[in-house]
């Protein structure tokens, strides 16, 4: 059982196009997301650094004025920068006695006691975000001067500039630490990675979702345009499909799409050849039937006479006629069969080295009894040491057999028939000559036409023998010439084979 799936052209095109466009999208999306990740990091890092510097300036605006800020005391000027940094209110509220837990989870409870109503509303807006940002201010001796409520009392990061670490909740933090010019204060700002990740996720989602949602639409549009593009092909298929088997008119190659034109032209070529073949076949069948009718009619007529014949002599004479008609019918049938077998051959089948001499000997031996019955003298001459000829032995035998058959039939009793196989300048020569009546020069070409018979003949020919010879010669790349026989009498049929 064949389970192989067969896809239509549209299906193949659609699948191919979908794969290609999806891959293209995927690459573009990946590149874009990668770039946005980089950009996001840069921006957030810059922001973090700026925040730290701003805090430093606020903490130490005049080169160490606030050295003595007590631990846990709120820096007086922190409010001022709330307008500079949108997200600071959260921290301002949080700044105060380090009463909450080091992390920011209790931040919701803490501000109620200290924060104003205005600040509270801002805080609620930024609660999420507030939990993600912390800061610490240290002095040169390692005292914590100030911190956001969610910041731990221990040093978050010992490193200056950027650094990263994971806290005990599994959150990744990014730090920026900086000292003032005189090395009196160290500001350390930390931001949770979640902030960046959220932004990146949101960018990615906005980028990918239209692509994914648009896929069905793209699918539909591609399907429609493919079907539209293939419409001429469908029209062509329908035109061929709805043809009746006897309609062999050519297809219009101009209206066919460029890609299908070679196919249409090939089809037209095939149709043309089929028309030709069918026409030949029709003609051949009609001719064959007509030719077969003649001997049958003759048999019928003679049999009628036989029934009513008076004496034995009369009956025998009539039966002799019946016999001859039957022989003619038999000949006709075998020649029709031979032609039917030869006609469709494009190239020579079963090519083997054939010894023309041995082949001629066998054919002559076969035909000789017929010549003997007519007291004809049949003679074969084969040049010695002839090389073999590549050919089909059956066909070559038939070729020589037909030529000999003609010679025996058309040569009168006691005549001479010679078969000669020899080398020629171009290759081989096989010649059958007789001293019969010959064929007038004007008709020597026509006798090769099917069913052509020389007028005024009383021999039981079929008009097919030479046509068969011609066909076999063609297949062997050989030529048949008809000329006068030896001494300008009778007929010589000369078959010239190329190559030696």
């Amino acid at each position: 059982m064949i389970v192989r799936q067969r896809f239509s052209l549209s299906q193949r095109l659609l699948v191919g196009l979908l794969i290609v466009s999806f891959a293209y999208w995927a690459v573009i999306a990946w590149l874009t997301i990668r770039d946005s990740i980089n950009e996001t990091y840069e921006i957030f890092d810059a922001h973090l650094a700026q925040t730290a510097l701003a805090l430093l300036r606020v903490t130490d605006p005049d080169d160490g004025d606030h050295h003595e800020i007590p631990t846990g005391g709120a820096p007086p000027l922190l409010e001022e920068i709330s307008s500079q940094w949108l997200h600071l209110p959260e921290r301002i509220v949080g700044v105060g006695p380090a009463s909450g837990t080091p992390d920011g989870r209790n931040i919701a409870a803490a501000p109620v006691a200290t924060g104003s109503a205005k600040v509270g509303s801002i805080r609620s807006l930024h609660r999420e975000y507030g939990q993600k940002l912390r800061y610490q201010v240290w002095d040169g001796e390692g005292h914590l001067l100030s911190r956001s409520i969610n910041a731990p009392t221990a040093v978050m990061s010992a490193q200056d500039k950027f650094s990263e670490s994971v806290d005990k909740d599994g959150q990744v933090w990014r730090y920026f630490g900086v000292w003032d010019r005189h090395h009196h204060f160290r500001v350390l700002v930390a931001e949770s990675h979640d902030v960046r990740n959220q932004l990146i996720r949101s960018i990615s989602l906005h980028l990918v979702s239209p692509l994914v949602l648009g896929l069905p639409v793209l699918f539909l549009l591609l399907w429609l345009s493919i079907n539209r593009g293939l419409r001429p092909l469908g029209a062509l298929a329908r035109e061929i499909g709805k043809r009746k088997s006897d309609n062999l008119t050519l297809l219009n190659a101009d209206s066919a799409p460029e890609e299908a034109r070679p196919m249409v032209l090939a089809l037209n070529d095939l149709l043309l050849r089929m028309t030709h073949t069918l026409e030949n076949e029709r003609l051949f069948t009609a001719n064959a039937a007509h030719e077969l009718r003649t001997p049958l009619a003759a048999i019928q007529a003679h049999l009628h006479t036989a029934y009513t014949a008076d004496g034995k002599t009369e009956r025998l004479r009539v039966l002799d006629q019946v016999q001859r008609s039957v022989e003619r019918g038999i000949r006709l049938v075998s020649q029709l069969l031979a032609l039917a077998r030869l006609d469709p051959e494009q190239a020579l089948p079963d090519v083997r080295p054939v010894s023309l001499g041995e082949m001629a000997e066998a054919v002559c031996a076969d035909m000789a009894p017929m010549a003997l019955q007519r007291d004809q003298n049949l003679e074969l001459q084969v040049e010695s040491d002839l090389p073999t000829l590549p050919g089909n032995a059956d066909m070559l035998s038939m070729l020589l057999g037909n030529l000999l058959d003609n010679a025996i039939h058309y040569t009168p009793r006691g005549g001479h028939i010679g078969v000669d196989v020899r080398r020629s300048t171009a290759g081989f020569l096989m010649e059958v000559s007789d001293d019969g009546p010959g064929i007038p020069a004007a008709q020597r070409q026509q006798v090769f036409d099917r069913f052509y018979r020389i007028a005024g003949q009383d021999q039981p020919g079929t008009g097919l023998g030479l046509a068969i010879c011609q066909r076999i010669a063609e297949l062997h790349n050989a030529r048949i010439n008809l000329t006068e026989g030896p001494g300008g009498r009778g007929l010589a049929a000369r078959v010239s084979f190329k190559g030696l």
Binding site: E361, C364, L372, L380, V382
Partner: protein, 221 residues
């Protein structure tokens, strides 16, 4: 002599039946392969004429079945197909001879007689063509009441010619009939034997066709 004819066509079968009957065969005519195999079991047949294109069970199948049972009954295949391939196939499968339909009746009868003779069902061990009688046992030839002895090789050549009376045998075919005696036959050995035979039987009895071969015509007188 009992002959089994297997042929499905009514007209042809009837014609063959009549002609073979006239020629002295006791013809049993069946029209399909299965019946043919059944009839053969009865035994006693000297030869079978088998058509290839038969209904139910083809001629080739019948032949194969027959040869499987080790039956050496001589079989002549009669068929409408006339390519060398068909001939080779049927001879390969164990047919003893092969004739294309529309062949001459006389040829069919002559070949059947040759098959029977070769199978050893010969009629008294003599071969008759015209006024020539060849004794296959004591190797003598009789013409016009005069009996002569001939050599083994001459006998082989004459026997081949007489078995194929009416047909022309090429020198190669005649040489093949001598292979039983010697493997390297002289290039002109056949000519010598024919010459000797002519001396004994008269110049007219064997006809030469130049470049082709030799023949004894049926009407030798």
């Amino acid at each position: 002599m009992k002959l089994l004819l297997v042929e499905d066509d009514l007209l042809l079968g009837d014609g063959l039946c009549a002609a073979l009957g006239k020629a002295g065969f006791a013809v049993t005519w069946v029209r399909d392969g299965k019946t043919a195999l059944g009839t053969l079991k009865a035994g006693g047949f000297a030869v079978m004429v088998l058509d290839i294109g038969l209904p139910v069970m083809g001629g080739m199948e019948v032949l194969c079945e027959l040869r499987k049972t080790d039956d050496n009954l001589p079989v002549l295949m009669l068929t409408a197909r006339d390519t060398t391939r068909d001939k080779v196939i049927s001879l390969d499968r164990g047919a003893d001879d092969y004739l294309v339909k529309t062949a001459d009746m006389e040829e069919l009868i002559a070949r059947l007689r040759a098959l029977i003779r070769r199978a050893g069902h010969g009629s008294g061990g003599t071969l008759n063509v015209g006024d020539l009688t060849l004794d296959l046992v004591v190797h003598t030839i009789t013409r016009n009441g005069k009996t002569m002895t001939i050599s083994c090789r001459e006998f082989a050549v004459l026997r081949a010619l007489m078995e194929n009376a009416g047909r022309v045998l090429t020198r190669g075919q005649l040489e093949a009939s001598l292979y039983g005696w010697s493997h390297d036959v002289d290039s002109n050995a056949i000519e010598v034997h024919i010459h000797n035979l002519r001396l004994k039987l008269g110049a007219d009895c064997i006809k030469t066709l130049r470049g082709i071969g030799y023949t004894i015509t049926r009407s030798t007188s």
